[in-house]
Amino acid sequence: RAMELPPGHFPAARAAAAAVGYLRYLRGGPGSGLQLRQLRRARRQDIDGVGHKYYLELELEDVLDKDRTVSCTAEVLYHLGSNTSAPDVQLTVQGELRSTEEADKEFYNRIRSLEKEFVAENIPDSHGNVPPELEPIHLLAWAASGYVIWQNSMENTKFHLAQVKHVKQVKRNDEDLQFDFVILLHEMVSQEVLPWEVTLLWHPQRGARVPQSRAAPAGS
């Protein structure tokens, strides 16, 4: 009952972007970032009274270690008639990526030991540059934007992170690191660039969590 879709056509590509967003949120950290290398296969199933479900086979690579790829099967369910609930995404990742334990610990300790709270803006800059010392925070922005992209994806949208406008660390009494981001998301169908405020918590063992996010108010 599931219809085969040409993987090069936009319906499959949009579902893949939502799946990748979710995966970045789940697996993202300062030491690694996953990007889609290829969408190998896509199928769609229209479930009466429920919604549209996409079955995807993705090949992903680590942006810091491009020779290493993993496969991922994903199911993306867009709920019927709903513009307010996020698609359900289930993923299975096959293959192992390089361990980021060392890099994560190093980043964690470095930020914890800063006297003044970490602040940065425009990542990458207008010319596309990301200085090496900002790469970990850039990858955490991918995790944060992955959450927002997943939560806000619909069948007729395709989001990408265009730029990190601003990031500010907020010191906490517990063990988590907290970063408040202002990110710019590019939506392919409307071509709009949408600013979002996202708070990200991260810990080497506990991973990334987004306690709050909202579309930035007009004029910000």
Binding site: G8, H127, G128, L161, A162
Partner: protein, 384 residues
Amino acid sequence: DQVLHIVPETIQQVQHLQLLCSTFMLDLWKPLLPEDIRAGEDLHVRVPAPLVQEVKDSLAQHMISYRVLIPDVQKLVDQSMPREKSSHRGVSGGYIYTDYHPMEEIYQWMTQIQKNNSELVTQHILGKTFENRTMYYLQISQPSNKTKKIIWMDCGIHAREWISPAFCQWFVKEILQNYKTDPKISRFLQNLDFYVLPVLNIDGYIYSWEKDRLWRKSRSPYENGTCYGTDLNRNFNSSWGSVGVSFNCSSDIFCGSGPESEPETRAVAQFIKNKKSDILCYLTIHSYGQLILTPYGSTTKPPSNNEELMQVAKEAAAALKGKYGTSYRVGSTALILYSNSGSSRDWAHTIGIPLSYTFELRDTGTHGFVLPADQIQPTCEETM
């Protein structure tokens, strides 16, 4: 020029250093501002060559010890430039094709290119933008007694897609540098003329440099100056306003007040209409997505010569992939990307230009519009 490392020990030393920095207008690398100089903290300062001795004497006089961190700044700068950059001189005296350039520099580049290659290149006025800037195109044409067909290529219809004008400039450089030695290019020029418009949406491009890096549209005002810009690639007279557009000026896909409502659109359309019987191929360069898009965006009904269009595009994508392994998808906009109307590529095809393509260059979303300059070279090389 030298960079000195100093650790001031006393308040007096800090004050003297602050005085030196402001008197000589020295380039402080660390900290950034003289008022942030502190006793016991590292100071790195670049001293221009003619002042080096004087500054060192002054430091010695105040018993401030220093270490030379970088003995020759220029040497370090030269070493850090990739060597290929020097091989692109000659065609236009030192222009760096692996960097993004603001509009002023692109205007100068066009003048230089024509001057240095006047046997092949002529610069022509296409029209004016809304903010009254002149739109120029370059004609690359080998003198001959046979009339030649034309390949038209425009870049920069969308302001934020900086890799696009970078590609047009690269393309021109590549042709001019190699036409005598490369048999393929030489054969092209025997039979075809190239017309290249390096930046179509000049007002928008400048705006993306000065005010908003992610601006897309033109800069014409609507609604009493409360809202700016038309998406020029929704403004052409091809099923204008029917799908994939907005009639609201604040949208990034605002299609304008009518087909060809914008001066930039009219400038291009008029020219192409006049020459259409000689134009073999219309190319318009965008980013991002890694796609070669064929007509149409407004309908999935294929154009009459779809087989030919797809075949040529597939061969192009294969050749592109052969260079660095970059994958491009091929197909109509309506199937691959989204529905849209009023695009320049669709319009060119409907008036009779057989081969009409939109190229969406690197990448697929990792950097998107803000593609690092170090990808200019590989992107352009593979696309050539």
